[in-house]
Structure formats: structure tokens, C-alpha cells
């Protein structure tokens, strides 16, 4: 490593440690920011000599990164940005902090994928999904797919692990030579009715149900050749089927079918580093919570479980994960959340009918109007503590968007 990079890396680690010691943050951004000020190529220097996987998409990237890190760790030490700091500053901090490791698995914000590919020369890039997210500032879905497509075209040697169920992802990876397709299902389809290639309608054909499992729908464009590729990795009955047809039971401590899909993706990524699925699968059971998500905390006799849902697609997944129990929904619209709450009408809250639903957060009234139109009865509470008091002892499911989730975590004294 050049001297400038060594100094920058050292400053980066020190700043991160100081930030943590001062209680100002977890240090996952500030260190990288300072390091990059001293050496703008620091990320490239830190990446050199490591085998790297990048994981990107609108939803599931933090969890999938955590699972893939666990699976790859059977081969050796893995550096990762486990706090969800998923922009180049966060990657720089993570690699500087980890020191020399043979492997790295990095979660990448979808807008930064091209830049991070260029800086880190990854061995594998995993593309999870693309859907609407923070529309008041994020790039529209089709534009995002176009950016990915260009980034991958510029780096033809990279292996891609991609979601066969999302037409936007398939189109983005269409010209890549080495693609491993996985099928993790796609519950949210409202952003891929129109073919990104030719503008015709995309038709979905629900697959026949077998083994009591709900298989992913087949799909094809009605106007051109774009269609669902045959997946190499699939999900079946709490297990993952590998490209050779072997079924591997996956024991997860994370809830929901969506996480079995994330596990399949993680094993497909790990396989690119030579990890056999049965080796990887045993590692996945060690993952209990991801940056506070899914964690269960006891408070006054209530078992509180926190689920993060930040856009329409992830709300549908959260309803699937949450148990039939009193459920608190909390919505903010601060800067990190996006200022626009219109997306609430893209979510069908009907699965919550029959549950005791409580609402809170800065924008509880937006949610109230939405739930009323959706015929979902609810109670409004002013604080998280009020919600805990308002439900009987037992389980309380909490589904919140980004800053609302952070607020509740803070109220639980960062014990997660």
C-alpha cells in the first residue's frame, strides 16, 4: 500500500475509534470520510488483494450481506460494513478497520454500484431487486436499472449473482456473460409491469403450487425476448436448492420467507468463493439480528420485535414476517426517510385486519387516513412507551420506517 494510503487508513481507523469513544456515532462513516480526504484512491488501495463480493438492491441488502458474510467466513476472515453504512465512505471505514483480510462482503447503495465496482474490482456482484424507494429524491426505477446495466457492461469479467424474478434486474444483467440466477420470489410487482427493453407489457403466470409452497411466478415480455431465466438456486420448504439439485435445510433465526430467499442468495454468493452450500448453510443459523432488525427485546412483560420497512415492497415483506399479535406501525418523513408519504397508498394494509393495530410517529395522521380508507381499525398513540402500555403482556410487533425505527431503537437504550 502506498505511504499516503497507509496514513489515510490509519487516520480513518483512529477517527472511527474516536467517534465511537465520544459516543457520537458508530464510526462507520466519519473514518472513511476523513481517510478519503487524505487519499481519494484509498478505497481502491484497501480493496487490492482481497476477494470481494458487492451486494446491492432496493431491499434486503443489509440482511443478505450479513448472511453472505457468515457463509463466506468458512473460508477465512471477512471484512464487511455491518452497520449498513453502504456508500464509499462506509466501505472505506469497514476495510480500514478490518485490516488485511482475504475476503470482503460489502453492501452497496444501489446508486453507488458503478463507482464501487470501479474502485474495488469485485469478484462477484449480487443484484437483489429494484423497486420504488424514496421517490422525492431517488432515481426512478427504470433509470436505476439502466445505470446498473451500464456499470456491468463496463466490467465484463465480473461474475453476477442476480434475481431471476425481477424483470428490472434481469434486464440490467442481460449482457453479462457469467450470471448465476437465483429465485427468491417477488411479492412486489408494481414497478415492473412495463418491459425496460421495449416498453411492452410484462405478463406474469403464477406457477402451480406444489409441496404446499408458493413458487415464484414465471414472467415474460409480450413484445420482445426478455423473459425469466431458469434459476440455478431456488427456495423450497425452508431450504435452498443448489444448482446441482441438492436440497439444504436452512435454519434461520430471522423471520419470514423473504429471509429464506436472502439465504439462498447468500449461499449463491458464497459458492463463488468456493463455499459448499452445506458448509454455508450451517453458518446462517448463527445470525440473530441485523443492525437491530428482527431483534427481540423484553420491555415490561412485552416481547417487542422490531421490523424495518422503508418502502412499499418491504412493507409487504414485513407483514409476512410479523406474527398475529398486536402491531405498532410508526411512520416518519424526515430527510433519510424521504419527505413524501404518498407511498402509503401503494401498500395494501389489509393483512393487518383483525389485529390490534396501533399507530405513532411524526406522520401518524397520514397513516391514519390510509388505514381508514383500507378499512383497518387502529388506535393512535403518542409514543412508543404508550404503545407498550396499551397492549397486554406478550408479543408486540413493531414495523417502522427508517428514522422511526432508529427512534424506537434509541428508546430501547441501544440495547440491541
Amino acid at each position: 500500500m502506498p505511504l499516503r494510503a497507509k496514513v489515510a487508513s490509519s487516520v480513518s481507523r483512529t477517527a472511527a475509534a474516536l467517534s465511537r469513544a465520544a459516543g457520537r456515532g458508530d464510526g462507520s462513516v466519519i473514518g472513511g470520510w476523513l481517510g478519503l480526504k487524505i487519499d481519494k484512491d484509498l478505497l481502491s488501495h484497501l480493496a487490492a488483494g482481497r476477494q470481494i463480493a458487492l451486494i446491492s438492491g432496493t431491499n434486503g441488502k443489509t440482511t443478505t450481506t450479513r448472511l453472505a458474510t457468515a457463509a463466506v467466513s468458512v473460508r477465512g476472515e471477512v471484512a464487511t460494513n455491518s452497520y449498513g453504512a453502504n456508500m464509499p465512505t462506509g466501505h472505506t471505514s469497514a476495510l480500514a478497520k478490518a485490516g488485511a483480510t482475504p475476503y470482503a462482503v460489502l453492501e452497496v447503495d444501489e446508486h453507488y454500484l458503478a463507482q464501487v465496482i470501479e474502485a474495488t474490482h469485485p469478484r462477484v456482484v449480487a443484484l437483489l431487486n429494484l423497486s420504488r424507494d424514496q421517490l422525492d429524491r431517488a432515481k426512478e426505477v427504470a433509470m436505476m436499472a439502466q445505470l446498473w446495466r451500464e456499470a456491468l457492461a463496463a466490467a465484463p469479467e465480473i461474475r453476477v449473482v442476480a434475481n431471476a424474478d425481477d424483470p428490472m434486474v434481469v434486464w440490467a444483467a442481460a449482457h453479462v456473460e457469467l450470471v448465476t440466477w437465483f429465485s427468491a420470489g417477488q411479492r412486489w410487482t408494481d414497478d415492473s409491469w412495463v418491459c425496460p427493453e421495449c416498453g411492452s407489457a410484462i405478463e406474469r403466470v403464477p406457477a402451480a403450487t406444489d409441496n404446499g409452497h408458493e413458487p415464484a411466478a414465471d414472467w415474460h415480455c409480450t413484445g420482445c425476448a426478455l423473459r425469466r431465466p431458469r434459476p440455478h438456486w431456488t427456495v423450497e420448504s425452508d431450504g435452498v436448492i443448489d444448482p446441482q439439485g441438492g436440497w439444504h435445510r436452512v435454519f434461520l433465526q430471522l423471520p419470514g420467507r423473504v429471509n429464506v430467499g436472502n439465504a439462498a442468495t447468500a449461499l449463491a454468493v458464497a459458492a463463488q468463493f468456493g463455499v459448499r452450500p452445506e458448509q454455508g448453510a450451517t453458518q446462517l443459523a448463527q445470525v440473530t439480528s441485523v443492525a437491530g432488525r428482527y431483534a427481540q427485546v423484553e420491555r415490561d412483560g412485552r416481547v417487542v420485535r422490531l421490523l424495518l420497512a422503508k418502502n412499499p415492497a418491504s412493507w409487504l415483506e414485513a407483514f409476512d414476517m410479523a406474527e398475529e399479535a398486536p402491531t405498532l406501525l410508526s411512520i416518519n418523513a424526515r430527510d433519510p426517510d424521504g419527505l413524501d408519504t404518498s407511498w402509503l397508498f401503494d401498500v395494501d394494509f389489509a393483512p393487518l385486519r383483525g389485529r390490534d393495530v396501533l399507530i405513532t410517529g411524526d406522520r401518524a395522521y397520514d397513516l391514519a387516513v390510509r388505514l381508514e380508507v383500507n378499512d383497518v381499525p387502529f388506535r393512535h398513540v403518542l409514543t412508543f412507551a404508550d404503545a407498550v402500555r396499551a397492549v397486554p403482556p406478550g408479543r408486540l410487533e413493531v414495523i417502522a420506517n427508517y428514522t422511526a425505527f432508529q427512534d424506537i431503537r434509541a428508546e430501547l437504550d441501544r440495547v440491541l
Binding site: 412495463v194 413524501d340 402509503l344 395522521y365 391514519a368 390510509r370
Partner: protein, 245 residues
Amino acid sequence: MSSNTVSSNSDLTIVWVYPDLLSTYGDRGNQLILARRAGRRGITARALEVRSDQPLPVTADIYLLGGGEDGPQALAAQRLITDGALHRAVESGAVVFAVCAGYQLLGHSFFAKGAKCSGLGLLDLNSDRGPGRAVGELAGEVDPRLRMPTLTGFENHGGRTHLGPDCAPLARVTSGVGNDGSTEGAWRGKVLGTYSHGPALSRNPALADLLLRWATGLNQLPALDDTWPDKLRAERLTAVGAVTR
């Protein structure tokens, strides 16, 4: 029966025009809200979604147009011009409520992907590109002839809209940009458009009821319990410092 007439036992048919092209920001909300507010008054409403590869019915009562990206917006305008059903429906007195991209394409012309595109000419207005994107809370005092309280919404658009003499502004802007920083939206007859995007009716129940009155011909509708929409309105109008009334 020809394929583009609607027959049903419902009192009202509410069509969401081209959800495959014009749907970005919870646009479905307006259809859900209208159907529910009708249902609460004992008026049965049928909600239809008509995709851009299907003929648009001419006999529906309310047509809703949502927001969209440049490409789909231009395509939607083209198909609606070719289809012709929306023009005929408006001639026979149908109600049209359009937001954002859907609003722009009701005019004579708009800009998409840097090119000037022909609109439907159902409202006397033209849209072009503004100096920057208008993103944020939008509020304005509504044309007194419509007898409605302050308009509140969220806007997110790069276009600016210039009204001709044959339509009237929906509101005078008190916060945000709207058409051009001074007026917002437009209406003529029973055709109404606004830059208040997505589920605009969620914050403006009086606007929803105006559309329902237009569609049913009823001068008055029974009042509904609007506790939550009213709390939301008060909160949003306070946030932008607008006076509530």
C-alpha cells in the same frame, strides 16, 4: 355491447387510466378514496383499471390520471389521442381528475425527454421545463367558485404550466410552486388537474366530494366523519405556515 361501453349495476364507474404507465406515487389512493366516500353515502362505485393495451371505456363517470416518468407520459398521451375515448367521454359530461404528469398531458403540449409532445387539449394550457424541480409541500387558496377550503398536497415535478384563457387556475399558491409559483392546477367544466401528486384526495376530502357531486349531479352529499383527514390537513397546513379555514 361494444367493447368500450361500461355496463354494471353500480351507480358510478371510476376508471384509473393506464396504471401501467401513469402510476408512481400512491396514485391508486384517489380511486380508493372516491370509491369509499361514495360507498359511505350508499352510492355504489365500481373501480376499474384500464391498461394502455386495452380500449378505454367511453361511458365511465370518473377518469383518473396519475403521475409518470417522461417516457410513459409521452406514450400515454399518444395512446389516449389514438384511442379517442377520453375526448368523447368528456364531451358527454364525464369527470376527469388528473395529477402531475397526467395533468400536463391534458393540455395542448408538454415536454418529455427533452422533446415537445402533443397533449390531449382537454384543458387550455401548455407545459414546459422549469428552472429546477419543484419538490415539497404545496398549498393554495382554491377558486372561490369551487367552494373548497385550502388545497394541500405534495408536489414533485420539473415542468411549469401556463394557462390559456379557456381554463381557470384551481388555486392561488400560498406555499410551493404549482404551475409557476403563483397559480396551481387548472379546471374547466368537469375536468380538473393539479400538481398535488399521488393520493391528492387524502388531504382534500372536499375535492373528492366535489368530483363525486360532479359525477352524480347531486348538489349536496351527506357529511362524513373526516376527523383523520382534518387532523392531517391541519398538521400539513401548519407545517407550511398556511392559514387554515
